[in-house]
């Protein structure tokens, strides 16, 4: 199915989105956050946590911040301190450093060890950091760049490994890719469930995170066996699940993708871990954390930018969260806010280096089924997204708001959702459960849901080839109307004194009002100084 939209109108919408997004990008470039700095350390190979579970990256960033502030970035003070090991042979604590060969560069392994030791000593208050200058700063920057370069090389290696596996064993057989969720809280319970879901037909497995993880200002460590309504996103859990799905992918002869969540206070850190552990897709929305988790807008936009640069490099497909707006606002009235947000998400994503094939822009089947012509409206909205973003693998989310516990009606609604997804060429189809809002899916719920998807795809998967909406019919007119409203809204946002930040503060999206000077994580934001240096952004932006 194709919609006949005026390409000039679409170009106008894109131009307006760029105008709205540009000042946000400029603001993001001028700030750093604790999460950005911690992500940098993770790329340099610093992992692990103290016996209480506080990660070493948190200790080290906090210690540097206490001594020299956050505004210069942690790279120069940290690698200055590490350099002191080498030149004097004595650790800041007075302990003798390992012997170093003359002119030996900081290799991955030694940086790893020294970084961990430095973090330990910093946590114990045995190190005083300072900001190096001149030649000393240049040397620290060089070593920092080498260490972070190892992490970036790991992102590259993951991407190559994924591409190789897909070409060797094969890809998902058709689109949309079938997306299923597991979420037991226990990674060792999740693994067999994910493998079973893949065998039953899932092309993508998402491991839902434990509720509240998005508000933790650190990434938990290790394999976890307890969570609430989900499983913690940790590097080890990522590794375990990817390894299990690799095994299942080989068994099934198709590469099964793994998804997790980069939203919340640790966006760039989780993005780095995901990239290094070869996750394939990540939830990464430009405004979700602000609107639905009350995370400070500045913090979010700064964190988001680095997280997306990392995703871009690692070949990860992002999934955006526009579907969430429709869980709080009316799906008909707020349809244009979805389009607006998709355009903004696209702008921010492209700016961060993501390509069209990596943009899993979100939307959802959330119109009240009691509204007359609700299915035609759904088709119009889904088709509009497909027409504006023809090369993006759009993420199509099932009904949740009007799933009432009447599982029979819910099953029918999910069938219509699947049909709309098939007819409008959505790229990623999240499988709807008839027990949405009742229980976390049972084995039978999942099986019935997949039968529903298979029936619709087999029966009507190519129905879109036979029909095009009448150029002046209900669907085409509705799509044009929504696009027009979206253009109006972008225009209004531009007219606000502080643009998008004001719009977010006014409750434009999802009805949430989030002022720029409030919200969680604000204390972790700092304006960059002249001396600021971050090897991760330097490498990812190709400034070398």
């Amino acid at each position: 199915m194709r919609l006949d939209l005026d390409p000039r109108t679409i170009a106008q919408a894109r131009a307006l989105a760029a105008k709205v997004g540009d000042p946000i990008v400029e603001m993001a470039k001028k700030h750093t956050t604790v999460a950005v700095e911690r992500a940098t350390l993770r790329l340099a190979g610093l992992g692990g946590a103290d016996p209480d579970g506080t990660p070493w990256v948190n200790h080290l960033v906090d210690a540097v911040r206490a001594d020299v502030g956050l505004e210069h970035g942690i790279a120069l003070p940290v690698w200055q301190a590490l350099g002191a090991y080498e030149t004097t042979g004595v650790r800041p604590s007075g302990e003798l450093a390992r012997p170093l060969a003359p002119n030996e560069g900081v290799t991955a392994r030694s940086a790893d060890n020294d970084l961990a030791r430095l973090a330990e000593e910093a946590a114990a208050g045995q190190v005083t950091f300072r900001l190096p200058e001149g030649a000393e700063a240049e040397l620290a920057a060089k070593h920092a760049r080498e260490a972070v370069g190892v992490g970036i090389a790991r992102l590259d290696a993951s991407r190559v490994a994924r591409e190789r596996m897909i070409s060797e064993i094969g890809d998902a057989p058709r689109k949309p890719w079938i997306y299923l969720i597991v979420a037991t809280g226990d990674i060792y319970e999740d693994i067999p469930q994910a493998q079973a879901a893949a065998r039953e037909g899932a092309d993508i497995i998402a491991v839902i995170r434990s509720t509240g993880q998005s508000l933790l200002d650190y990434v938990p460590e290790g394999a976890t066996r307890e969570g609430f309504a989900g499983t913690y996103a940790t590097q080890e859990n990522f590794r375990l699940m990817r390894a299990a799905l690799d095994e299942t992918s080989r068994e099934l002869g198709r590469y099964v993708r793994l998804t997790n969540y980069a939203s919340g206070l640790c966006m760039p850190e989780i993005a780095a871990l995901a990239g290094m552990e070869r996750l394939d897709m990540m939830l990464n929305d430009s405004m979700y954390g602000i609107l639905f988790r009350d995370i400070n807008p500045v913090r979010t936009f700064v964190d988001q930018r680095l997280s997306r640069q990392i995703h871009a490099r690692a070949g990860i497909i992002i999934n955006t969260g526009e579907d969430n707006y429709l869980t709080t606002a009316d799906a008909v009235e707020a349809a244009h806010t979805v389009t607006t947000s998709q355009l903004l998400n696209e702008y921010f994503a492209k700016e961060a280096g993501l390509e069209n094939w990596q943009l899993g822009l979100g939307h959802a089947f959330e119109i009240n089924p009691d509204v007359p012509d609700s299915f035609r409206l759904e088709l119009a909205h889904a088709l509009l997204a497909k027409s504006i973003f023809p090369d993006a693998p759009l993420k199509w989310m099932p009904p949740t708001r009007h799933m009432t516990g009447d599982i029979f009606k819910g099953y029918l609604l999910d069938g219509f959702f699947n049909l709309a997804g098939a007819m409008t060429g959505q790229g990623i189809l999240l499988v709807g459960m008839m027990t949405e809002a009742v229980v976390t899916p049972w084995i039978s719920d999942r099986d019935l849901a997949l039968q529903n998807v298979r029936y619709v795809m087999d029966a009507a998967g190519r129905l879109g080839e036979d029909f095009h909406p009448a150029p002046d019919g209900f669907i085409a007119n509705r799509a044009r109307e929504v696009l027009g409203e979206s253009i109006d809204l972008l225009g209004k946002i531009i007219d606000e004194p502080n643009g998008l930040l004001d719009a977010i503060a006014d409750g434009t999206f999802g009805l949430m009002k989030r002022p720029a000077d409030a919200g969680k994580g604000l204390e972790g934001v700092a304006e960059k100084s002249e001396a600021y240096y971050n090897p991760a952004t330097t490498i990812l932006e190709g400034e070398e």
């Binding site: 508000l215 969430n324 869980t327 708001r401």
Partner: protein
């Protein structure tokens, strides 16, 4: 008691007692599996029962749909429910009542106290995203929500309540190991009794899946909400209690 209050499930004839159930048994699909499903149905009181559908699911599981007749009677007169003792309001109605009666926003401070890091309960009630298709208290224009999040100490909760001039304090407790939820809640209510003059403390509301809703006096709180409570119920209760308390102008 009159016979009229005894009823049976209704399929297509009064008194036929017909019900349907579906379930999964952890065994491979086979004739034995069908027999096992029938046996379960019989034990559940369905007699006669028919396995109308059975389907293998994954490795070693079979899904069944069973129809059958139950002989149980329901005595409607003996049904006991805890009735809600306040009117259920829509967000719009709640906003209107607050605006009219309080003439200022209703301030709600919420937190998970103790070591509990499970904000799922408090978030379900407070976050705009809400729960069960209902929006959380943040969505209410006339309710000012201060969500302190997880692992909040009792003293800082009291501080926040005092500074923000809270009308109500919502405490969520999910972790129940060694009765932590009961201990924490008692500690919390005691701290509020100490910090406020009698009769002036905010409404104290505890929530969590393992609370007994009738333990309010024992825990020193005004209300307990159990599993499945929706934001609208909490909002309606808060509006009911806070606006009734205000002296009529």
């Amino acid at each position: 008691m009159s016979q009229g209050n005894l009823i049976r499930p209704y399929g297509d004839t009064t008194g036929d007692g017909m019900v349907q159930v579906s379930f999964t048994l952890p065994m491979k699909h086979s004739k034995v599996a069908d027999g096992a499903a029938l046996q379960l149905a019989n034990k559940m009181g369905m007699e006669p029962a028919m396995v109308v559908h059975s389907k293998p699911m994954g490795d070693g599981f079979t899904f069944f749909v069973v129809y059958g007749q139950v002989n149980h009677l329901v005595d409607v007169d003996k049904v006991q429910v805890v009735e809600r003792d306040f009117p259920l309001l829509t967000p719009k109605e709640a906003n209107a009542v607050i605006k009219e009666t309080l003439r200022r926003p209703l301030v709600v401070v919420g937190a998970c106290i103790g070591t509990d890091a499970h904000t799922v309960g408090i978030d379900a009630i407070l976050n705009i995203k809400g729960f069960a298709g209902e929006k959380g208290l943040e969505y209410y224009k006339e309710i000012e929500v201060v969500n302190l999040g997880a692992q909040v100490s009792v003293p800082s909760l009291v501080d926040a309540a005092v500074t923000r001039r809270a009308d109500a304090v919502l405490v969520s407790q999910v972790v129940t190991q060694r009765d932590a939820h009961l201990l924490n809640t008692r500690e919390m209510s005691a701290a509020f009794r100490e910090a406020y003059p009698a009769g002036e403390r905010p409404l104290l509301v505890a929530g969590g899946p393992r609370f007994d809703e009738s333990m309010t006096t024992e825990l020193g709180v005004d209300r307990i909400f159990g599993r499945g409570t929706t934001p609208a119920e909490v909002a309606s209760y808060l509006v009911h209690r806070t606006t009734a308390k205000e002296p009529a102008a």
